[in-house]
Every structure is written in structure tokens, then in C-alpha cells.
Symmetry: C2
């Protein structure tokens, strides 16, 4: 599809690269309390330990799977039809929403009737939008505060636990060494949680209580029933977001759909469509209908298109119409820069890089032009009314975030953060879900202050940060400058990390950049989970390390975040298949390997029927000399 | 040279990619107190600020330059001759060393006489090795403790300050806005130093005192007079090391020399030659003679080659001969795994990944085979005698470092660290310079403990860590999993970070991997410098951010760590030269840009003759409406 210069609906096909199964992986579904709760996971099978290392079975491990039906060989994928509406029945059963006769927004109706875009419109939606019945509030927060555990909450509780108990149980039954293995593979270092309260097991009730408390959100618009529920909160696994979207300068609808399916294949938990080009509305429809993950947008971008880029011509009415337009398409969270207040704009004048948020600068300009308080701020409660009619979550935008190390943690940024805290309380009054966006560019020693102030000002509403970048001197490598900051702030308590790609500051990411950004942020989020002591987080590290030690090369590749690249790198030096069962690698060569020496010591222990430690103590006695001397023959050079 | 399957001395040529000047960069030399002290720096020139942004001059900035004569267009580079011996006179002037009649080591003499390797030997060395005169100690630590400031120390003091004062002075004279600019560009956030004591300016006396105290080292063997002095210590700029070296499986001498010149081009402060193949001795000679940075080795690797891989056949005598062989070639620091003591070996039996250090496992095997304490430990004072006769620094190896998250901070690792602390005191008794190697694989929350215990046990001897990797689940991305750990431990006080390349655990790095590893570690080290509050560290971030804000694309590329990649990424979407002077980028397109809006506000201020802040306050009055409305025209879509 990338090669197609003009996107035509009739020719739209799924990106073949996005639907191939991952190696040695199987899509499984864990059933909840009713058969319509089917929670996807990826099961990675492993080979047995070679007999020279003990020969035990290595049961499959389960990893979080964001890829939706795309990696399920039983799913019929046709992006012209979109994904099945798996949540439709749950929404329907609640009996608090109604199908509308048609689109409520003027712009939506206009576009639907526009013959010029007919050939590129998504053809597969055969339902009208839903909205809360009059007087009803359909947010997950509202249900949670009523004490209701929704199917979405139960789904999430299963998803977050990742079948950890089943995995450990399977280890116990893996052979005579089962108990030892179960202990070994589930062992984990205590975390440093900085005030997080992560339970040993995630129950549906815990999910409910966190949502009710506002400490987590489930972004799932009733008009995006295709989405698989997921949760964002400091007491859950750290999530990552991938930004996609075309601009006036580059890329087509097809490319953006491809980026979305590519991003979720590698682990994107949510996707933001930041398109600013001509076909924002149509692009978004294609993405939402085909996305199993929540979709976020920045509605002010589209509003600006509607006034031909003239910020001062923005009005509350047309912004309101845009919110409804997008809410009825199914956007799951809106970035709203309601904290960019008129009095904060002058605070940016002495900055090195001024206002770098697009949304922030639009609103700053509007405020100055009208010498009025931002309409997003003054109409905030009306926005809440819209949000709760569709269950769209707020992502309160950091329009005054620093765009350089120089500007980090300044008065403008922190003043806005405080306002976001006040707005959080307003949203919560309406039972509307909220997360808070964060910077940006922050040197390491100032990251903690960001987190601490956010927790304080915003009463633990989930923090959602872009990086932060920890230095400005590495354009081309900002996935890494920011991955450092992301891992750090994730550890401190940030709930979702917005990825940064290698192209940041230089150009729009292509598919390769999207993958590089995703993998970098997956590893940063995982490093944060380990550091917080998230229960079970170390299972995958342990499994991969065991495979590495036992020279199970294929398992080492497959247990990693990017099996393709690991295999490719290995094969550059040792391309033969036989090398993948070899007990050595290209770094030390076949004749000398430190891991092999350790194994020799263990083998000796096993032969003697001793525990490793006792064997080694005995190994210090005379007998060990013989053992090592004979074992040493394998190191003779040929 | 890479394409040459058989390396022949007669055909050896420098890698052309390594000698091209970097864009808009000029090699300068800052003279010290005598004309033979010529300290290299890279001066990066910048274009003027566009008139629409104020039109001021942007004086050149100075960055640390590890590339040696290779990037000096006036230097004649012939790798068959090697680099000039810039320190020869200083060494000579001290009158405490003597030129030996020939090589002292038996192995060195044997190889020199070996006709089989004649065709690949380095041909350009026309001097014999030097050694301390009887009874003399020629270490920089010894001089420092006598109160002597050596030319090496003065050189380093100039190097570490990076002409910061001259740069700020040049800003002051850059025009009517000079004072404002000087203040703006030199502003920096306070650091969090965790007990470091970094002065505002590095004086020669400060260098001396840190060396005397053992808190920093200058690795420069008297037989490597080609080296440009540099310092490793927590109160100086954080340094990085690049590992190169062939193995039995891959790569030739030529490729390794290319990797060295490539590594220093991108910022490697030291290089370790970890070759384990057939021509370790000859490879090393080529590398040292052509290296302007200190070279480290792990002598036990070569010793093991000499006994055909049979660890138990290692003896003190042949190890001693190896140390002398390498010391007379000019190796600047030796990794010696003297902390792998017999009683610690059993502590590794219950590990997930056993002993992963090659040196560590060799010594563990030797200890078990002989049921004796390690000869490195029992002969440690004799090793000190050799070190001080050539001024080779210890890099006390962490042979029991964890090879997985599971094994982090365990008893084996921390017991060894304590022993390294004891050995530090022994080395210091001999005035021998010492740094301490550290892990490895450590989750984020356990990194601080590593640093704190190292500082305590080893009395602030410089810490030199590999990563650490903060998770095991991303093979193919371990430059990033470890870059996170490296930035963090650098912030806490680690003096040098050993890079990890994307090929870690999978294969030997090629040139691309070397560069990716170097840049990742340069940015991690710099992030650490910023976080510690190293004086002047933020200058480069500030300069790059200013260039970014002013759409000086070329300056933005050139001020970064990798101008080539930044330019390439930019050109993927906007390849035309005109795009590089455009006031927009591909992300937002020509019609809308947040930075441009900020600039409009500033322009308005300038026109009114007001400060930015006053203008903005005024901008909230009625007049501002007109301004913004008229200025807004530039956003009209064409």
C-alpha cells in the first residue's frame, strides 16, 4: 500500500507484514466469567533444555499482546470491513446508550455527503453512532463509583495478570526439578515503588477501585467497540503510546493504517492519530475501525484545519462540533490543552524554545488575539458533558511543556500543571476519566520533581509523558535520549510513555522508525516495571536469561521484544542453522565460553547427586582437580 | 581494507571514512604553559541567526575531541608509520626511565623473530621499549603524590574546561545583545551530584590532587607516547570506552584498526582491544601505534591462548611475561580479575547465568583445578611492581559480575567488589593507578546500591561500568537497555561507561554497531554530566536548542553527536537544500509551526522596543489583538 501514491478505498489491503504470526508464538484467549470475555495473550513456546544442561521442559510463557486479531490466523482480516465489535454487547447490555439516527456533528454530516472524498472513505461501517441516553453517564469511572464491575474491568484484570499463576504451576509439573524451577523462574528483586500500591494479583475489584479513585483510566469510547480494554495507571503495567499521522507535507491514509497495524504488532498499547493533512476525518475513520487499541487525538488540530490555520478564528462552537464529530467516530481519548491559560503565556517569553506544543501554541495565540481566557478553560464543564456521553477520556495536554533542557521545570510549565490538577477535580466531579500529559525535555536530575508535583497537583491521576528527553545534543537518536528519561519517569510512577522515534525533530517517522520507537519504549516500560517491582515482571527476563545460558538461541530470539532483529544480528556472523544449536557464539568462538565453564561445574554437581553449592564446596577438595582437568579437554583447540 | 580477506602490512591504509573532517568543524589546539602542550578541541562554527529572529552572530562552540590527528587536515596519516610520539619529550624530561636494549618478554622476542607473521607485523616502530630506571616509580599517581604537576595533568586541565570562558567571552562581544546572550547560553540547571566535588574550573592543581587522592586516573603507559592525555574520575567529564577485537571466528587486523579509528572519530575516550584470535600480539601493536586514546586489554585472554585454552595450565610466570610483553607495547590499562577468589566461586552455583565474564570464568576454573587461591590475588604486589615500571593502570575486573537481572547484586558480585576495594589499597600503597570495573545486568532500582558500595569499598577509586543493562528482554537493543543504566550510574558517580553495542549477546560488532554504541554512550555520558551539574555541560544543549528554535537546520545537525545521521533523516522527507533554510519542518509543514508563533510574539516585542515579557503583558491589552490578527496572515493556507 505504501507504493500506492493515491489512496483508494477500493484497493485498500492490510499490510502483509502486520499479519504474520510471531515466531513460535500462538494467540490464546483466556476466558473470563462469561464466554464473551476472551482475553488475548501471546504464548511463546520454548524448546527443552539440552540434555547436557539438565534436559528439563520449559513451559511456554505468556506475554501481553496488543496486536489484536491481526496475529490470529483464525481471524479474517479485511481492513475495508474493520474489526469485529467485541464490546458491542457489553455496551448494549448496560442499556444506558442509544443508537442515534445519524451523525450529530455538522462537519461529520458534511463530510459524509462530500462526493470528492467518496473514493477514499472507509466503506465498512454499517451502524450509526451511539450516545448516552439523556441524563445518563456512560464512563467507566461512573460505573466504578457505583460499585459496578464492568466486563471491561474484568477483562483488564485477566490481561494484567498474564497467566502468571498458570505459568508457575506449569513449571511445578515440568518434571522432577519442578519445584526448584518454579522457585527459580518466579524469583524477582524487590522493587522501589515510590508510593505505588501494586497488589500481588490484579482482581476485577482492584481495577474498579482504581478507576473509581481516578488513579487509572480505561480509554474506550462506546463508539469504538472494536477496542480491547486496557488500563493506564501507576499500579498497573506501564503502557506506551505510538504517535502516527500524516502532515500537509507527507504520507497517505494507507501509510497511516499500515503504521497503526505495525505499531500494535510490536507492542503499542494506544495509538494517537496526529494527522494534520487534508483528510484528517477520513484517515481517522480508517484507523479507528481497524484498531484494537484505544485511539487518541488532538481535536484542536482538526479545528485549526477548519479555520484554514487561523488560530484566532477558532470558536467554542466549532471546537464543540469537532469534539462531537470525533466522539461519534470513536476516539477514546482527547488531548485538550485547557491548561494554557492567558496569564501563563507571558511566562514563556524568556524561554530558549518558546512554546513547542502545537496545541499549546494555537491556544496561546488565540488567548493573545482575543485577550480572553482560553475557551477550553472557560467551557471545560461543557466539554465534560460531551466526554461522559461517549466515555471519552481526557488527556489534559501540556501545552507549555519545555522544548529544550534549558526550559525544563520552569514557571510556565509548572503553572500549567497546577491548572491541570484543578481541571482534574472538575472532570472527576463529572465522573469523567482523566490522564495528564507531561514533558518533554528534562535533564535527569529534574525528572523526579516532575513526577512528584504531578502526583501532588493532580491527585495521582495517571501521568502520560513524552520521553522526557534527557539531553538535546543527539538529533537522530532521540528515541534513546528520551528512552532514558522514559524508563526513569516510568519507575517513579508514570503510567504511560509516549514514544519518541529516531526521526524526532527531523522528519515524520516511517514504518522502521515506528518500530524502533516502539521497541525502545517497550524496553523502557519494562525496565520501569522491574524497577517498581511489578509482580511477575521478571518472568520474561528470567526465561530469556535461562535460554541464553543454555544456548537455546531460537528461544532467546523468540522471547525477546524483536525476534526478527535478534535473529538477523546473530546470523550476520554465524548464519548456519547449526550455529543456533551450538553451545557457543561468535563472540568467544567454539573453544572458549564462560557460560560453558559454569555449566561444567553444574554438570559435575549433578553427577555427584549434590546441590550445586555443595558440589562446588566439594569441588574445592582434591576430587575437583580431577574433574576440572578431565572436563578441560573440551577446550583444546582443534 | 575491510574487503581485503588477508591482511598484509604492505597494503595497510587508513580507513578513508575516519579521516574526513566533520562538517563545519575545525581542529584547534589550545596551547598550555609551554609550546609542546597543544590540547586538541573541535570548534564547530555556526551561521548567524536569521534576521527575522534577531540576526545575531553565533560564535563557534568547542567540544571534546577524541579523534586525534585523524581529523586534522594538516596531519600526515599513514597507519604503517603510526602517530607522532607527542609525549616522548615529557617522558624523557623526567629522566626516570630508560630505553631498553630490546623486548624484555620472552614471548615478545619470540614473536618479533617469527617469520610467519612478518608480513602482517606493524613496520613503523623504530624505538625500543622504555622502563622505569631501577628503583623509580613512573606513575602519574607517584608524581602527583610528590606534588608534581606533569605536562599530562596540565594538558588534561585545559582539555576538560573546553574553552568555556573563551566561548562565553565571545558571546559578550557578539553584538548589542552580547550580555544577554552570554547569560542565556551559559545558564545551566543545578545538578544533583551525590557527593561529587566538581569545581567550577579544572586547574592543573585540581587534576594533580585528584590523581594523588586516587579519585581519578590518567591511563598513559610510557610506551604509548602517541596518546593524548585524558582523565577518568567522578569529578571530571564522564568518559566512555569502546570494545573492539577479533575472535577465533571472525575479523582481521585491518578491520580492528578501522574500528578503532572509527570509534575515536565518534567519541570513544578509550578503546579496549579484546582480541582472542590468532594474532593478538600483532593486532595490538597496530592498534596502539595508531591510537591517540588509551588502550586497555585483558591480558588473561592472551595468556589463555598461550596455553591453548587450558585454563588450568596458566601459571604466574607466563602471565607475568604476558604483562611485560603488553606493557612494553604500550597498553595503558590492564583488566585484572584479581578479585575472583577461590571462596567466591561456590557463591555462583545457584545463579541463573553463572559466571559470564570470560576472565572471571578462566580464573574460577584455575582456582578449582588447583584448589588454590588465584595467582592474580597472591601475586598482586608483584603485578604492582610491573605496573609502576611502565605506568600501566589497573582496571580491576569484575569477574563475578551478574550476567542477568536475576543475578544482580548477589553475594558473589558484592564479595568480589569488597576484595577489589582491598586490592585498591594495595595498589595505592605502590602509587599505582586503579579503576574498578562494574556490572553488567542490574535493574534500575538496584543500580544505586552498586554505586554506593563501590564508593564505600573502593574509597572513590573511579568506577568503570559495562552498562548496566536494565532488562534482559531486548536482544538486538542492548545498547539501549544498557544506555539507560549507563546514564543512571554515570549520574550517581561512575567515571567511565563501557559501551554496549546492538550486537551484544548476538555477535561481534561491525563498524555500524561500533558507531551506534559510541553515540548511545556519548549521549548517556552527557545526560549524566548534565544531571551531575558538570560546569558548562549545558552549553552544547543550549546552542543546539537555539539553532533548533531559529530553524538553523545545518547548525542543528552539526552541533549534534552525529551530523551525518541527522542530515540524512531530515533529507528523507525534505531533501532540498532550500528546506534547510526553511522556517518549518516536515512534521508540521510550512503553514503551521509552534516555534514560529513564539517568534512572532518576540518579533512584536522587539518592534515595540520592549522586553519580551513586557511585550507579552502589553500583548494582553487591546493592541495585541491587532498585532496577532495581522501577523496571523502568514498562516493562511495557499
Amino acid at each position: 500500500m505504501n507504493a500506492n501514491p493515491k489512496f483508494l478505498s477500493a484497493n485498500a489491503r492490510v499490510d502483509e507484514a502486520a499479519i504474520a504470526p510471531l515466531p513460535n508464538s500462538r494467540k490464546i484467549y483466556v476466558e473470563g466469567s462469561s464466554p464473551d470475555i476472551q482475553v488475548p495473550m501471546r504464548e511463546i513456546s520454548q524448546s527443552d533444555t539440552p540434555s547436557s544442561f539438565g534436559g528439563e521442559k520449559n513451559p511456554p510463557i505468556f506475554v501481553y499482546d496488543t496486536s489484536g486479531p491481526y496475529t490470529d490466523p483464525n481471524a479474517k482480516i479485511d481492513i475495508r470491513s474493520g474489526l469485529p465489535a467485541l464490546r458491542a454487547k457489553w455496551i448494549d447490555d448496560r442499556n444506558d446508550t442509544e443508537a442515534l439516527p445519524g451523525l450529530s456533528s455538522a462537519f461529520g454530516r458534511e463530510r459524509a455527503a462530500d462526493t470528492k472524498t467518496a473514493e477514499l472513505r472507509f466503506p465498512g461501517l454499517h451502524r450509526t453512532p451511539r450516545r448516552a441516553k439523556a441524563g445518563k453517564n456512560v464512563t467507566q469511572m461512573h460505573y466504578a463509583r457505583q460499585g459496578i464491575i464492568t466486563p471491561e474491568m474484568e477483562y483488564i484484570s485477566i490481561r494484567e495478570n498474564l497467566r502468571r499463576e498458570a505459568y508457575i504451576e506449569s513449571l511445578r509439573h515440568a518434571g522432577p526439578q519442578g519445584e526448584r524451577l518454579a522457585k527459580l523462574m518466579s524469583r524477582q528483586h524487590p522493587g522501589q515503588h515510590f508510593g505505588a500500591s501494586i497488589p500481588a494479583e490484579i482482581t476485577p475489584e482492584f481495577v474498579r477501585s482504581e478507576i473509581a479513585r481516578g488513579r487509572a483510566i480505561i480509554p474506550n469510547n462506546i463508539n469504538h467497540p472494536e477496542s480491547e480494554p486496557m488500563i493506564i495507571g501507576r499500579n498497573f503495567l506501564v503502557k506506551i503510546n505510538a504517535n502516527i499521522g500524516n502532515s500537509a507535507v507527507t504520507s497517505s491514509i494507507g501509510e497511516e493504517v499500515d503504521k497503526m497495524t505495525w505499531a500494535i504488532r510490536w507492542g503499542g498499547d494506544t495509538v494517537m492519530d496526529l494527522s494534520t493533512g487534508k483528510h484528517i476525518h477520513e484517515t481517522r475513520e480508517w484507523i479507528i475501525r481497524n484498531s484494537p487499541v484505544p485511539i487518541g487525538t488532538v481535536p484542536i488540530y482538526q479545528a485549526l484545519e477548519k479555520v484554514n490555520g487561523k488560530a484566532e478564528e477558532l470558536t467554542w462552537d466549532m471546537f464543540r462540533d469537532t469534539l462531537i464529530e470525533q466522539a461519534e467516530q470513536g476516539v477514546d481519548y482527547f488531548t485538550i490543552h485547557a491548561g494554557v491559560r492567558l496569564p501563563y503565556v507571558p511566562m514563556t517569553a524568556n524561554r530558549m524554545t518558546g512554546i513547542v506544543s502545537r496545541g499549546g501554541s494555537i491556544m496561546a495565540k488565540w488567548c493573545l488575539a482575543h485577550h480572553q481566557e482560553s475557551f477550553l478553560y472557560t467551557h471545560f464543564e461543557e466539554i465534560c458533558e460531551i466526554m461522559k456521553a461517549y466515555d471519552v477520556a481526557f488527556s489534559l495536554g501540556d501545552g507549555l511543556r519545555p522544548g529544550s533542557i534549558y526550559d525544563a521545570n520552569d514557571e510556565a510549565q509548572l503553572s500549567e500543571l497546577k491548572t491541570l490538577g484543578e481541571l482534574t477535580q472538575v472532570a472527576w466531579k463529572h465522573d469523567v476519566q482523566v490522564m495528564i500529559e507531561g514533558p518533554g525535555h528534562v535533564p535527569m536530575q529534574l525528572i523526579k520533581e516532575n513526577m512528584d508535583l504531578q502526583l501532588e497537583y493532580c491527585d495521582e491521576a495517571p501521568f502520560y509523558t513524552l520521553g522526557p528527553l534527557t539531553t538535546d545534543i543527539a538529533p537522530g537518536y532521540d528515541h534513546i535520549t528520551s528512552g532514558i528519561g522514559a524508563a526513569t519517569i516510568g519507575w517513579y510512577g508514570t503510567a504511560m510513555l509516549c514514544y519518541v522515534t529516531p526521526k524526532e525533530h527531523l522528519g515524520l517517522p516511517n514504518k522502521d522508525d515506528v518500530k524502533e520507537g516502539i521497541i525502545t519504549y517497550k524496553l523502557a516500560a519494562h525496565a520501569a516495571d522491574l524497577a517498581k517491582g511489578h509482580p511477575g515482571a521478571q518472568i520474561r527476563d528470567n526465561a530469556l536469561s535461562k535460554a541464553r545460558f543454555e544456548f537455546r538461541w531460537e528461544d532467546q530470539f523468540n522471547l525477546g521484544l524483536d525476534p526478527d532483529k535478534a535473529r538477523e544480528f546473530h546470523d550476520e556472523t554465524l548464519p548456519k542453522d547449526s550455529a543456533k544449536v551450538a553451545h557457543f557464539c561468535s563472540m568467544c568462538g567454539p573453544h572458549f565460553c564462560s557460560m560453558k565453564i559454569t555449566q561444567d561445574v553444574r554438570d559435575y554437581a549433578a553427577k555427584q547427586g549434590l546441590t550445586d553449592e555443595a558440589a562446588l564446596k566439594q569441588g574445592m577438595e582434591v576430587k575437583a582437580i580431577e574433574f576440572v582437568k578431565s572436563g578441560a579437554e573440551i577446550y583444546q583447540r582443534t
